[in-house]
Symmetry: C2
Subunit: 989 residues, 2 copies
Amino acid sequence: VSFAAPIQPGAHIAPSTLFKPLDTFPRRHIGPRDNDLPVMLKTVGVASIDELVTKTIPAGIRVEQAPAVGEPLAEAELLSELRKMAAKNKVFKSYIGLGYADTITPPVILRNIMENPGWYTQYTPYQAEISQGRLESLINFQTMVSDLTGLPVSNASLLDEGTAAGEAMLIAFTIHNRRRKTFLVDTATNPQTIACVRSRAEPFGINVVVSDASGWERELEESGQDIMGVMVQYPAADGRVPDYERLAAQARSRKSIVVAATDLLALAVLRPPGEWGADIALGNAQRFGVPLGYGGPHAAFFAVRDEHKRRMPGRLVGASKDTHGKVAYRLALQTREQHIRREKATSNICTAQALLANMAAMYAVYHGPQGIKDIALRVHHLTSVLAEGLTQLGYTITNRDSFFDTLTVRLDFPSSELVAFAEENRINLRIDEKNTIGVTLDETVTKQDLQHLVRVFALGSVQRHMLVSDSSVPSVDTLAAARFATAERSFNFAPKLARTSAYLSHPVFNSYHSETEMLRYIMHLQSKDLSLADAMIPLGSCTMKLNATTEMIPVTWPEFNSLHPFVPQHQALGYKTLFEELEYSLAKITGFDAISLQPNSGAQGEYAGLRVIRAYHESRGDVKRNVCLIPVSAHGTNPASAAMCGMDVVVVKCDAAGSLDAEDLRVKAAQYKDRLAAIMITYPSTYGVFEDGVREVCDLVHSYGGQVYMDGANMNAQVGLCTPGDIGADVCHLNLHKTFTIPHGGGGPGMGPIGVKAHLAPFLPGHPLTKVGGQAPIGPISAAPWGSASILPISWAYIRMMGDVGLRKSTEYAILNANYMAKRLEPYYKILFRNENGLCAHEFIIDARPFSASAGIEAVDIAKRLHDYSFHSPTMSWPVGNTLMIEPTESEPRSELDRFCDAMIAIRQEITDIETGKQPRENNVLTNAPHTQEVLLSENWDRPYTREQAAYPLPNLRKRKFWPTVSRVDDAYGDRNLFCTCPPLELDE
Amino acid sequence: VSFAAPIQPGAHIAPSTLFKPLDTFPRRHIGPRDNDLPVMLKTVGVASIDELVTKTIPAGIRVEQAPAVGEPLAEAELLSELRKMAAKNKVFKSYIGLGYADTITPPVILRNIMENPGWYTQYTPYQAEISQGRLESLINFQTMVSDLTGLPVSNASLLDEGTAAGEAMLIAFTIHNRRRKTFLVDTATNPQTIACVRSRAEPFGINVVVSDASGWERELEESGQDIMGVMVQYPAADGRVPDYERLAAQARSRKSIVVAATDLLALAVLRPPGEWGADIALGNAQRFGVPLGYGGPHAAFFAVRDEHKRRMPGRLVGASKDTHGKVAYRLALQTREQHIRREKATSNICTAQALLANMAAMYAVYHGPQGIKDIALRVHHLTSVLAEGLTQLGYTITNRDSFFDTLTVRLDFPSSELVAFAEENRINLRIDEKNTIGVTLDETVTKQDLQHLVRVFALGSVQRHMLVSDSSVPSVDTLAAARFATAERSFNFAPKLARTSAYLSHPVFNSYHSETEMLRYIMHLQSKDLSLADAMIPLGSCTMKLNATTEMIPVTWPEFNSLHPFVPQHQALGYKTLFEELEYSLAKITGFDAISLQPNSGAQGEYAGLRVIRAYHESRGDVKRNVCLIPVSAHGTNPASAAMCGMDVVVVKCDAAGSLDAEDLRVKAAQYKDRLAAIMITYPSTYGVFEDGVREVCDLVHSYGGQVYMDGANMNAQVGLCTPGDIGADVCHLNLHKTFTIPHGGGGPGMGPIGVKAHLAPFLPGHPLTKVGGQAPIGPISAAPWGSASILPISWAYIRMMGDVGLRKSTEYAILNANYMAKRLEPYYKILFRNENGLCAHEFIIDARPFSASAGIEAVDIAKRLHDYSFHSPTMSWPVGNTLMIEPTESEPRSELDRFCDAMIAIRQEITDIETGKQPRENNVLTNAPHTQEVLLSENWDRPYTREQAAYPLPNLRKRKFWPTVSRVDDAYGDRNLFCTCPPLELDE
Ligand SMILES: Cc1ncc(COP(=O)(O)O)c(C=O)c1O
Ligand SMILES: Cc1ncc(COP(=O)(O)O)c(C=O)c1O
Ligand SMILES: O=C([O-])O
């Protein structure tokens, strides 16, 4: 693609083109070149892109205008514009706490993981054999969480602490078969967590009682029967470190589930929840080296007692073995997930926070147990020096003898006065109430910072100003000397709560403490993972397009990445502009009237959207509307989200062509007309086709008073060509990590903002601490007001650099690339579900079912064999069993499309060889795939094919080959012998 | 190593430790842990580190005090300190030109090469089989240079344009057997280039005549016999694009060598020097995507006619084939290099600018021929719009009809007035003379920039201020319209000088134009190169230690990396402080009185130091002193540098123990006592031993009036334990890319500052454009006043983070690591040259000579077999033939030392198997090493060992293995069939 018209010497030069920068982005983002176009169009059988689009998208829904997001900025322009915007964010020192603490990202992790496409471009590690690096790192994360919380099974991250708390409540709910209706939450829990829990509770009619845990003894006694669970924050949000052992025992004796929201750093010195009786521990792993990012992305953790492991939400990595008995990691117990459970799920989590979990795990790997403990103790001791200072200054600390890193201070003057003075000094404190404030310290606090803080407290009220001069501010040296005059006072919590058990004792946490070792460990793991830096990842429905460097650069600028989510909004004016502009563009692109940037994954978007629909119906008194129609082809998150909104899911059939069965829809819509809340459709469909008649579907549902929810996962086929708003959708989520180039991070982060029509705007989600959302907002969907704010510059940058025309072109090429591949493959494979012109949208499905009988080959065999060809496999067996769904995206160059097609064609020949009996059905290159170096180099080669056939089925592989590091992983073995922390080294000898 | 005392709960807490940050650096930099120490000391046979040092370093030279460079800063502290320093550098828009132009580093190159340890940590690609990635990239560089200059053979970079010009002159000098004495240089050549050429000429008595090339016809006619060569700048420094064809023909007819200093971007539209008759083209490749960096590092290029290729300085990459006939790259014609030629060399270049050459090459790969041409044309056309504006404003442009990107403007008021006004507007112009100024445009210039520039010219004198108001400043749109009203005027140089020939037509420049493709290409090449991110690189004398992320981060901050080298010094106050502090620390560390930061490699340091010594002697009238004693064991750069200073090299023998032969020294010193200029010694010696009696050597030389030059390549064994200044050296260079953690970049950049005693300080090198150096400075050694300024933050950061104690510890561990390995290996190999206590310094030599007879095995076979064990080989056959010199550095952890020793021990067994006849002498794992995947997987395996023995001689290799990508490379074939540009693709099928 060449968008820059070359200036020809001697030719007439148009002054208007002269000044245009040359570092334009669309030609960098889009793969095929201008000179690829003729042959690609010819292969597809159309004369022009325009003809292709006309024949792909039903008439009537195609828009004429590219979205009005403006002229494209070149890459350098973009960065300079963004620098200006960033400069409007003020990076003050924040002592706000509430689950977010500043942290030092070890530079070796910052550069080689967070800023490294070899770590951030992958999808969730579904293909274990080419993902052993991340899987090992994620099992490190699980081990770290498990060790620190004292609970045996941890997952590999959730979206944030607030929603993790909601998930915990729902486990308690389902354990009691939804019969118990009350969930107790201690008052001293982070306010955003309480709000998220309440919000999650609402659709299920759960009664969330927020009260002081000290009174629960009575409560449990009196109504224990109805109490599904209790949740405390440990240490408490006000800083106290209560002893919950008795409470936990009492709750558990009533079969109430005990949930501890907690802090990994504190647990390095505090008795862990698992040891005092918690069933579930959860929290935010952010302070383990993950930047604050104005709220995210961070990895929430979630650990449970063994008995609850099958109820645990989210991805769980487990150790299993491969066909040669070698230890191999893979995602375990996948049947727990919404993909399988669908409307029976109480969790819809899909994209989580893998990249951030990896960073947190690496932080623990780098620091080791002693390093983590040193950090915890330093934070703790500095807090006690501060306590000494405040006491000397005459302040009342409400938790003077019970804290880890947080003090609550009662003032005899309005807290706003102190907070304002602090802000003048570039310091943010937390206002708890009118006359109390909170201070939470973190590992970044220097001696000078602490001195500044003491000074602010010394001079922090008008009155004090007059009494105390700068020279009489106590020095922190003096305070420390006073505080540590005696040895006994080194801890500030009940001695019984001091941690005695070991943690992080596995060798992995004790081997890589120099930077050289750490770097090599990171690089070694990276080398086991196939990423977009190696090859195409043609995962249907996942849109693995380029995550461009220019888009990524701002994410690690301090101005975007060092803001606490609850700083005053006037400190974040750069973000404000960015949000407004991004909302504006997304609204233009989707045809909606309002956007919420809060949901931090696609599934959260679905949930938010359906909740908004419910709120809308309720606002009109339409309280009975709780049926959600969902096509059988829908992604598992759809029914799960609907169920989480308390909706009844009614499944709509699809016809043989893959379209919604119009008759079935008509019947069911009519049948439920009084209760019809919504229909959820994916467009183009999950089968990769722009269905005809989608407008009619919307009209039908509307005619019965229902709303239309569009799953925007396939938005990459729509941008600039048609808009959900026009088509008839009332809400749609956008996976910014698909269409809008946020990298998938190996399983997260993501962002799933929703767009809505005006009538739904009043209900967009709010937040307890920050004014966001509609006039009559539903509760928060995420812990932070704008979800994972710090990755929004990525999508903003993408849109600004593509501009109207670029965005549309991008979609056109996504469609072209898919159809080009489909046409190349169609002589060899059955392509399912294309439209009447024989065209797919931006992805297509290959049928592997016939090979089952003809050759004993399943889709999974093809998928694994593709690893031998240095490819990630397409999406496997979704949305149709035993098929492969291929989505190349616009970013793949023709050479890579061809390389993939050549591989698939060669594999087809390999299948033929089985069909024709040239190769045995049980022992061939496909069933034995993937082939590792080790297997191929073994002396005893007794296979009916050569090593070279296994390793180099195509000549180019001799020049460039990505190697799987384990043979086919045995999932069943792993699930039977579940092992979810780092395995002892002996195992792997 | 744990330097942070762990805070124990319940223990007494010393307030002074409490506030210390925990992200301390020494324990990250140094490999072994505290708990490794006992076993390591035991292996070495000493009770403590102190005992080790006492037994290693001769009594009397060891200092008691660690260098007084201050308390260490923690990593985050360091970065925040450095941010403050950086903020004092002002990033203005510079139109200064003179060989430096701002550029857009494509972000994909910035992040994945310049900021990626997988690209920047390697040494020069001496081990071709594990360096094919960089070698391919460097051959791309050569191809690009060759294409653009129109000359067939290009090297893989020199240090800077100034020294490249010096090298060109010396080629001309030697071509005429040093008989012709005159070198003509055109007046309109960059002033720093002229100064460098003059400086290089001086020791040889070459007469550099700077005059207007238009008068050379006469000159050549009259004294052509004596004119070795002529040099012009093309385009000229004042902007003109002269036609030099006639001149070149005339010069060549007189056998004068024609040298063109030129500009790669201009050559995209101008007739290249190779086509109008130049023998040599050289210049700075900086504007191809390499940041300005206040002067460096950048890659200079150098291309010659075929007949001169064997005289070309620097590294040359060539295509050859491996033992299986596969195309393989490697360094070609190494016999040209100073390693071999020693005192017969006229160039001493060793470390060059590989990393920057790679960046420039990738810039061409990413943009391709059309992209480069677009950039060139845009710059050219914008310059012509500016010309239009200046003309309309009434200015006189001296080169109105002859320019590419530079205008010279004659003012009717003092140029200082305009320049000052420009600076107020954050714009730097070039003052050429009192009433002319220069303006050079570059690819970063935006429309707005151009408008600002026009405005500055419009309002730039007091008088104009009064006449012209802001509103009457002509708009660039109007100017452009006027300028391009007719098509004919699109070029501003003689039509005959327009380029007609193609360039960059090899597929590599036409295949990777989307970011995805580019990223994969970069990553693919990276995967072929073993770097410090993969394994230890135990290259003796090269000090491949950690290049820490925190040290690297500031290098790409705009405040360090976007300053033109000739901005007014008050715009670079951050740099000023950094230079002062670094000079102070280096002086403390070395025991010298003054430092020059100008030399940008070790070899340049040698040259600078010897020149300073000569200047000193001359200042005392001691003009006869031109003998330089150099031990036979010296690095090739030593005699080469001495020769370049016009010195006569007298070689001093070494005794069997590897020490200087005291008797020989005495005799020769006495023999040359009247002519004795200096001795060059390396300490500890190049044999890796702290020689006894080094003080006596110094005293002896001093007693005859000679000076002592110390080669500081082995400074990593001295820092904090002894100092060159104390020992008796008068000058010493420091390879900052060894001891002071600047990464080697795969063959550069580096920095080689020198320290001198007070009596030599007056002679430290100066610079024509910036006040640096001594009172009676020698001419410049580098084109930029502070050499490669932008990498100096690396060494500064290292010193600041290590502090006194850390630096000393670092040295102690470097010595410990080496001795630990030597002791582990000594039962298996003969270790050459240790001191009387059986101890080495920081490196040691293993003798491979015995295996020659016993097994037919040479050092090279061991080196290549080490690749199969996933190691880079040690330094091969230097300083003693058929040996391996191992230097682990302090950064390697014990596990890696052990892994290496295990590999060497296993290899020893493999040799035994040959010695005992178990394996044949001609066909065994060593002679056939290294083994590639492809070879091992071939069906026809007829070797007397198994595939597994070849690939996995130790069990750990099954888990983690780095693969060589070609088999043993055939050097002789490559030199016979020299091919130094990208080979046609067919070759590699
Ligand atoms: C069609 C569809 N809907 C919803 C989702 C869920 O999105 P997320 O993973 O961001 O939660 C996906 C994820 O791949 C999807 O493909
Ligand atoms: C002993 C010795 N002297 C001098 C040099 C030359 O230094 P540079 O490569 O920086 O020019 C080297 C390079 O390795 C060396 O080992
Ligand atoms: O490059 C070296 O000679 O070490």
